[in-house]
């Protein structure tokens, strides 16, 4: 156990010495890997935030019926009764035009603008929860309500929310694809760095093998080298992503607030940060492992 700890400590120490021995080359490699990690990370943060916001939206179908401006309170009551009789109509909520105006003034900060208008431009409306939500049933409900007197417009307002959810799902798949491609790029970058390292240290590898080094002994410092590069790149990408989140996030918060929306761009959590650094480490290690294995497969450094 003591020998195991010693060999691993020595391998780690040799790897960090190699990293420091070529500061420019190491910095460039780490920067390239960091950019490759940062791109999918930034997209992930963006779509995770959009996804969270979309999840908060009501995606249950909601049918809204707007009456003509000339419809009286009595006519509205009659229409409500007829809607309730429709087989697919569940809960029906009547929104009187006066209440709608007050709500609008509150929500959209349009008080000043609406104050300048003489009459209420909003109609009486009904919000109807349908019992069946398949396209055919909703379409029938929409047609039935439209056919009622004084009903001017009928909307089914869940579609945009569903579209947004689908877009987020699609975007997440794109992020996954980009991540996979860039993960492969990280492996190639690390692999190439390690290959060059092995070529420059070919003599040392040969001597070490001749005096009793196992392949594991030779491989270990290169694996640590790759893992250290990946971890450093992951940490840099994370710091950059958090920085961008706060920088862009403050503007997004102000923008969202001006539209009366509650949307905040959130930085990665502690767990997600650990995943980014851990992922970078694993990718670096994998790149090194593949490179060393290919080196052995070609029989280099073996006599």
């Amino acid at each position: 156990m003591r020998a195991w700890i010693t060999t691993h400590t020595q391998a780690m120490s040799r790897a960090s010495i190699r990293l420091r021995a070529q500061p420019l080359a190491s910095t460039l490699s780490i920067a390239v890997i960091a950019i490759a990690i940062l791109l999918p990370l930034a997209l992930y943060i963006l779509f995770a935030n959009v996804s969270n916001a979309a999840a908060r939206l009501n995606t249950e179908p909601n049918v809204n019926a707007y009456l003509s401006l000339t419809a009286t309170d009595g006519e509205a009551k009659e229409i409500e009764k007829k809607i309730r009789l429709l087989s697919n109509a569940g809960a029906v909520a009547f929104i009187p035009r006066d209440v709608a105006l007050v709500e609008m003034k509150k929500r959209a900060n349009l008080g000043d603008l609406l104050a300048g208008i003489d009459s209420n431009p909003l109609p009486h409306a009904f919000a109807i929860k349908p019992k069946l939500t398949d396209t055919t049933s909703l379409d029938t409900l929409r047609r039935d309500i439209t056919a009622l007197p004084k009903v001017e417009t009928v909307t089914v307002d869940f579609e945009w929310a569903k579209k947004l959810s689908r877009f987020v799902e699609f975007a997440q798949r794109i992020v996954f694809l980009i991540s996979a491609v860039l993960a492969a790029a990280v492996i190639f970058v690390v692999g190439n760095t390690i290959r060059l390292q092995m070529l420059t240290q070919k003599e040392e590898i040969i001597v070490a093998r001749l005096i009793g080094a196992t392949r594991g002994f030779v491989r270990r410092p290169f694996l640590y080298f790759g893992a250290l590069q990946g971890a450093a790149a992951g940490a840099i990408a994370l710091i950059a992503a958090v920085g961008f989140t706060y920088w862009v996030g403050s503007e997004v918060n102000i923008l969202a607030a001006s539209y009366g929306a509650d949307f905040q761009l959130r930085a990665p959590t502690l767990g997600q940060s650990a995943w980014v650094i851990g992922g970078g480490t694993i990718l670096g290690w994998a790149g090194a492992f593949i490179s060393v294995s290919m080196y052995w497969r070609h029989g280099e450094g073996e006599r």
């Binding site: 003591r2 010693t6 001749l210 005096i211 009793g212 080094a213 002994f217």
Partner: protein
């Protein structure tokens, strides 16, 4: 300890460096392989160290058939061998101390133990005052002694040296030979090759003369 049984070594170009050589080296023996250049001396040493494999016949070291050993097994076996190479194979980007420390690093020794053993080995070959030098700053004779220090630092059971006095003058060559004899006197089996028979004159050992890949004669002094 080392047994060659009807061993033949044929290279890819068809050249037969060894032709059915049978040879046994007992534990604690000191054996010098002599012969002209290209006679097959180095081939015997390479086969004994597992650097090359026999084309026919077998080579056993510590009762282990080298042809049947896997990579890991060969690595473990080599930790019990001290190898001195004709071209030294020193690492010029490491200090003298670090060159000697390499076998101990491979074996997983602690830093303190490594320090003790490296200094003892350097002391034995007279290079203790050069531990912080770069090998490139050493003379040919010093580089050879450095290579010997690296070979003995792990306290090997067998010391294999290929032309250890090849590039040295007679005075230095005699010192190196005496050094090998001193290791042999403490129980280390020594197998070396040389074409310099005058350097061997003062050393009591078994001499095997190789000619065209075969054992021509054998003398024990």
């Amino acid at each position: 300890m080392i047994t060659f049984s009807s061993t033949t070594k044929r290279y890819a170009n068809g050249f037969e460096a060894l032709k059915g050589v049978s040879l046994t080296i007992e534990k604690g023996e000191m054996v010098a392989i002599t012969g002209h250049s290209g006679a097959g001396k180095s081939t015997i040493l390479k086969l004994a160290a597992g650097i090359d494999l026999a084309s026919q016949g077998s080579v056993l070291v510590n009762n282990q058939n080298l042809a049947k050993l896997k990579q890991a097994g060969l690595a473990v076996l080599r930790r019990n061998l001290g190898l001195v190479f004709q071209d030294h194979k020193l690492l010029f980007d490491r200090l003298v101390f670090d060159n000697v420390a390499l076998p101990l690093e491979i074996a997983g020794f602690t830093r303190i133990e490594t320090g003790k053993r490296v200094r003892a080995a350097l002391d034995k070959v007279g290079l203790l005052n050069r531990e912080k030098a770069n090998p490139i700053q050493l003379s040919g004779g010093e580089q050879q002694r450095l290579c010997i220090a690296r070979a003995i630092v792990n306290r090997p059971l067998i010391l294999i040296a290929d032309e250890p006095t090849g590039n040295l003058d007679h005075a230095y060559a005699a010192t190196i030979m005496e050094l090998f004899k001193s290791f042999n006197q403490v129980g280390v089996t020594v197998l070396l090759s040389t074409h310099d028979t005058t350097g061997l004159a003062r050393i009591a050992c078994r001499r095997i003369n190789i000619n065209h890949g075969m054992i021509a004669d054998e003398v024990k002094t």
